[in-house]
């Protein structure tokens, strides 16, 4: 692994403070801001959700809302000109898949550092990215 600036770096963001810290780290590792690919993974809605039942919420509207919210949040933190992608499904899997799609050279992910029971049940998205990713993954531990 060399330390020269990379062309494409993927940063998964779940709107938590920790995940935005990963943006700062990734920013230093990429040669241009446009090489930064931010991905946010949304859960698949339950078919019994009132919004789904009444046809008021679909993936298109959710995707739009989430992308808008992401652009706003990134602009407020001074990250301009980065790529934003919204995916649906299992976070670990989708992030690894997205990195492959854009030909990422590196994934920079933050870890929530959950432990004990909630780690066992919820697990760590970072762990699953490492398991499925085909490129190097930098996990920022708290």
């Amino acid at each position: 692994m060399n330390w020269l600036p990379r062309k494409t770096v993927v940063v998964p963001i779940d709107f938590s403070e920790d995940s935005f810290t990963a943006m700062d780290v990734a920013g230093e590792m990429v040669d241009e801001p446009s090489g930064l690919h931010v991905v946010h993974v949304l859960p698949v809605l339950e078919p019994q959700d009132p919004g789904v039942i009444w046809n008021q919420v679909d993936n298109e509207s959710r995707s739009r809302h989430a992308a808008d919210a992401m652009q706003k949040e990134l602009a407020a933190r001074g990250h301009e000109g980065v790529q934003v992608a919204i995916r649906f499904g299992n976070p670990g899997h989708e992030i690894a898949h997205y990195a492959e799609e854009v030909g990422a050279e590196l994934i920079v992910a933050s870890s929530h550092g959950r432990s004990g029971l909630s780690h066992l049940l919820i697990g760590s998205v970072a762990e699953r990215i490492v398991r499925w990713a085909k490129c190097p993954v930098l996990v920022l531990k708290k």
Binding site: P47, P50, G51, W54, G123
Partner: protein
Amino acid sequence: MRSRPRPIAVILSLLLVGFLVAVTWRATAQEDAKAGPAEAAEPAQKKEQPEWEKNVDKFFGDYLVSPFMKVLFFDFWTSRWLFPEVVPEVKCPKCGTKFNTIETWGDSPSRVEMCPECGEGKIVTTKGTKVPMIVFWLLIGAIFFTLRMGFINFRAFRHAIRLIRGDYDNPEETGEVSHFQALASALSATIGLGNIAGVAIAVGTGGPGAIFWMIVAGLLGMSSKFAECSLSQMYRDVAPDGTISGGPMHYLREGLKDLSTKLGPLGSVLAVLFALLCIGGSFGGGCTFQIVQSLGAVREGAPWLDKYPWIYGVVMAVMVGIVIIGGIRRIAATAEKIVPLMCIVYVATTIYILIVNYAQIGDAFRAIFAGAFTPVGIKGGILGVMVVGIRRASFSNEAGIGSAAIAHAAAKTEEPIREGIVASLGPFIDTVIICTMTGLAIIITGVAGSHPGLVTENRGAALTVEAFRTVNPWFPYILYVAVVLFAYSTMISWSYYGERCWSHLFGRRTAIAYKLLFLVFIVLGSVVTATKILDFSDLMILAMAFPNILGVMMLSGKIKEKLDDYWGRYKSGEMQPYRK
């Protein structure tokens, strides 16, 4: 939305259904071997139970269910001092003298039936009336919220009607669905077999007077529903993608933390307790109760189901499974959208029954009022009737239980109070209209007296079928359709409540385990007896009121503050309808 279900989910559900078919096949084969009637099914199963199953059963009974029951159904020792029934004059069998009995209090209430003339007679020891703590708690909560919110159940009624008509719907506000859609979603969970079977059980065990107390509980419950649904809007989470999550597990934790940092841990405990009980409730009243009672009704029209009840369970499990695991949205959406229409058809049918029997309407109302205050021959006297009425009303409209707050959180509004007012219509529609209509149909046709077997077996839906049959031999078929549809939509909605609570506790990734368990309970509901399910369902659903009402009471000051502000703006004309 994903275009097709995940293969792993399909394989798992197929495996599960296969397993369930095998298990139930074995169970029914054993029943058949005994070739007994429906009542014999239970002992037959017990006899064949392997040792390990008995141990598991005993463990659950001794360490889980009975401690739970002791607390929830704790009766304040009322069984020692409340007389089970008011006994009128007794006639001496020997000399024919009429005399009044004397009541005494010992370890348990006794009645001395001694003839003053000839000395013939005996002392009768009876079990007294139990006033379960949870029923008391639901009533206290409903009265408290009614008083604290200044009779919001009555004064906001007209405003509520305008709200569901959409006069105040602003499409730009945060949320997922309109006021009407949120109410319809919440109602699809509450309108179920509780309205058809539960009412029949209430009339069967509590007499006509139970209907009076059901209506009272329904009217007071409107305030509980208002309070919990307002709170659920106040403390909902709006995700970056615009989707909403809310409900008691959110407002108990966030609300109490907001009230004082010292209350934070209590809020977290109540939230977890609520979520656990809601998962249990979804398996009980939200699933098995629906199956066992709808099966009881459908059996009347399809007697071959008596022999193979599990077929009904498996069919329902597959129908629910393709929605909650397979992700087929269209079916769930259609079922839930038909519910309001089906309610109208159901009420219209009961009105027809009343019209045909118009001569008895006056007598029926007299029986309801007389039975409410001076019940004759009913276990527990007036208190017994009250307990039955309130218990069945709460089970049906879920006011104070907190479940509907999960659905109402999704409404599109910036005014939490507004959704609370909309939600308060729920118990009115569910209990004051639909339950009362069922009750009147049962009282007027007199089926509770003519079918005592169905009453003792708690087969309420079957009793309603009989009431419908007295008017027109084709009417039961309307009921079969209504019953299956209500059961289905209630299960779909409750599986959503349960799944929300499960994901809140264990994360979304493990939600598949919950969904599979839900399907197991559907099949279980078709093979277990009705009375067992009734107890289990009551226990789990009513228990949700403990953490919920406690938390909502503590937060009532915050609701009152918002309500006063909202009502002030509404009355002063500052708040104008979006659509005039």
